[in-house]
């Protein structure tokens, strides 16, 4: 009975989380535009490819996300490495600034950057958008790399130096491989934040550098065209597929590791 209640509860929460998504997906196959079901059709998927506004915004979104996350990866990894070697006080100041940036309400980050660009007379466009995206992406990389550096053996870097590496080699050959998982997960998170961001882009984008979320927002003011439903259904399926693959791989790896460990300790 207790088991049944907890299962029922989990199902109820997920019904709540997925109801709107289901509605969205169903109406992407609707023949007509409104919220009344008139018949099954792939019409909106065909029109999606021809909708120039949506396609340009999608391209903008991906372009900005890739540039911003690569820049954040470099800037953030260097920052984490530097912070790791700092004295306590400057380190904690910088760390708190990073947390603050991460927890600051998006609208505040958005308007303060908008004021910055207005003050220095930068016209809103790709440049301002990329600068803004790097600003909110770097903290994610820093916060993912820092714990990795903390777990790393403190002597690793010096051992590499002793064995004849110069500073650069010691970093790229000894430190970098150790902290790579942190860099990868931080960069991927930055990428998804950037793709998904609406609020900050809204305040910093120009009229011809609109990202997809900004375009969607301007559509919600009138009526969302079903092409958007079609696009998000496609994205949903892609993300679902990627997540399932990643999970299956990591589950397999975990099992393998467990098997190896038990074989090792068993004998």
């Amino acid at each position: 009975m207790k088991k049944f209640i907890s299962k029922f509860y989990v199902a109820l929460v997920f019904a709540f989380l997925y109801l709107p998504i289901l509605v969205l997906i169903i109406f992407s196959f609707n023949e007509s535009k409104g919220t009344i079901w008139t018949g099954f059709s792939f019409k909106w998927y065909a029109e999606l490819v021809q909708n120039e506004l949506i396609m340009t915004s999608l391209a903008n979104t991906l372009f900005i996300a890739v540039i911003a996350s690569i820049c954040s990866a470099i800037l953030g990894t260097a920052a984490a490495f530097g912070m790791h070697n700092m004295k306590k006080l400057p380190k904690s100041i910088l760390k708190n600034a990073t947390y603050l940036q991460n927890l600051n309400p998006e609208i505040v980050t958005g308007i303060s950057l908008m004021l910055l660009f207005t003050f220095f007379k930068l016209t809103p466009g790709y440049v301002t958008l990329i600068l803004a995206h790097i600003t909110f992406c770097v903290p994610t990389v820093v916060l993912n790399v820092l714990p990795m550096l903390r777990q790393m053996n403190v002597n690793l870097y010096e051992a590499a130096l002793d064995l004849g590496c110069n500073r650069r080699q010691a970093f790229f050959k000894a430190v970098m491989p150790e902290i790579m998982p942190g860099i990868v997960s931080g960069t991927l998170m930055a990428l998804t934040y950037s793709i998904d961001d609406f609020v900050i882009s809204y305040f910093t984008a120009g009229p011809d550098s609109q990202t997809l979320p900004v375009t969607i927002y301007s559509m919600t003011k009138k009526r969302i065209s079903p092409e958007i439903n079609a696009l998000s259904t496609i994205l949903f399926v892609v993300v679902l597929a990627i997540l399932i693959i990643v999970n299956v791989i990591s589950a397999k790896k975990e099992k393998e590791d467990a098997r190896k460990a038990s074989a090792f300790y068993g004998k």
């Binding site: 929460v13 509605v23 260097a78 530097g82 308007i111 600003t135 770097v138 916060l143 714990p147 975990e254």
Partner: protein
Amino acid sequence: MKTNSKAAFPYILWVLFFTVIPFVLVIYYAATSKDTGAITLDNLANASRYFPVLIRSVYLAVIATAICLVIAYPLAFTMSRSSKSVQRVILLLVMLPMWMNFLLRTYAWITILDNNGLINSFLTELGLPKIQLINNSGAVVLGMVYNYLPFMITPLYSIMTKIDKSVIEASQDLGCNGWQVITKTVLPLSFPGILTGITVTFVPAVSTFVISGLLGGSNCFLIGDLIQQQFLGNEYNLNYGAATSLMLMVVVFISMGIFNSFDNDEMEDSMI
């Protein structure tokens, strides 16, 4: 070791330019007059007229955060006590909606709650009268709970997986009943997760303008809507906007100060 810390130099510059200077500019704009550029308190005085709007935002965000906590806590606990493979699937299902654009997910609620929406057409089919489900503060709270529930679940879940099964068994052996196990063992151990969850739910909820704009209509005007209008909307006035934002920032910093008055390192672990 000292030269290595120079690697953080570009980031320090970045923080200076894109976090510190913008913040100073907010204060600068808030404290100067739009027309003359002279220092004035008029903007702040004007912003304080909207104090009831701020109170309403905080009130709705508190309700939404509380509902999120009540829904998420049992779910996170159930999740953390299931088998590894079930945990993996549930976590995936919790994260998945976040990958879909939140504007669209919120917009989908309009399709459901609208006067001619799914629920009301269903009621009409049954011969029942229509209910006003949208353009009120209830719909805004629903939107907040819907959007930020995963933010509450993840930190709770990650801290609860760290609670060892034997600790719970020990408390049972020592005579706790089910309720006492929760209040005396699980609750104290998961406290940092609760604080993180509350922060990451409350901050976006109190500052939203999208959810209130889409689901609240003109009946539920929040501080985020006000700021949005002053920066990009009908009431364009950067100086008033900066002053209003400053008001919001004070609320957020105070609440963050209350919620996060514990060790940074602990927070770092529970955030990832």
